[in-house]
Symmetry: C2
């Protein structure tokens, strides 16, 4: 499998404010201008935390928002939403069990990204940076200490978002 | 006066590792490819913390590294370096006392940037993001909670650095 992060953060690195809200994001503009559809069309499986799933539920029918992927939610509670399945345990172990040909998108939840970074299982990251500082919130990166190097594949500007695209660094560059 | 931040951070927002070292930066490439000379030529005054000054001392003669600016170091200890002057107190108060026509560069020290952001005294930020995660270190942004919005003026790629250029947001966009 190949594993990707794709999502928005503030300039100070927060996925959401400390109440898990995205007001700063909605005030910055829409994602329609970005390469999202192209990215999503290449994904087979999504991974998210329970709080991210709840946020998605708040936006409308989750099955309509992620219609083409198998969607896995890390939660200990039962889920009754078509197209979404509750999973639990170690994200790295789960990801290692996914077939080679599948593309996996880590939608949200730093508790999922961190163990995958630590296990060197992240192949690419596309990060849209909003021109906003929050000062407090839910950070994107919470992995433990250790130098992890990626390769900058490109930068783009979409409205007020700076999009940075990273690929796995070649072994020689590590 | 107009106040600017210009400098490098890791993708997870650190100015330096937790021992205040910049190994990750030196391993990424040099700053020679960037618009640094153009930026520096427009500055009149630099502001830095004591630790940043020490790092600069480690690189060579500080007066040669920042020859064209008046360089102010926040420290309670005496300094004996031509072109550098020890200052102390509240960075916001100091900056408010600088003449209107002067351009001020916050070189380093999140303890200087944070109070200036909180006082709405930062006019621009040019941030080079290195494709590196450290997990721990000295964060660039340590200002208190509160939504501060900038305007994304442009993005560039210099080698493996993504450079994001921000300007003060117009009042209507706040």
């Amino acid at each position: 499998m190949s594993v990707f992060f794709y999502g928005c953060v503030t300039l100070d690195g927060y996925l959401a404010d400390k109440r898990h809200r995205l007001d700063w994001l909605h005030q910055t503009g829409t994602a329609e201008e970005t390469g999202y559809q192209d990215f999503y069309s290449r994904m087979d499986i999504t991974l998210m935390g329970r709080r991210t799933f709840r946020e998605i539920e708040g936006l409308g029918d989750p099955a309509e928002i992620y219609p083409a992927t198998q969607n896995l939610v890390f939660t200990h509670r039962p889920l009754s939403c078509p197209g979404f399945r509750a999973v639990c345990g170690d994200p790295a172990e789960l990801v290692r069990g996914i077939p080679r040909e599948k593309n996996v998108w880590i939608i949200g939840g730093n508790t999922i990204l961190a163990p995958l970074l630590e296990a060197d299982l992240v192949d690419g990251m596309t990060i849209q940076i909003a021109p906003v500082l929050l000062g407090e919130g839910i950070p994107l990166f919470t992995q433990g200490e250790g130098c992890i190097r990626f390769r900058l594949a490109g930068v783009k500007q979409y409205g007020q978002f700076a999009e940075l695209c990273y690929e796995r660094a070649a072994p020689a560059a590590l």
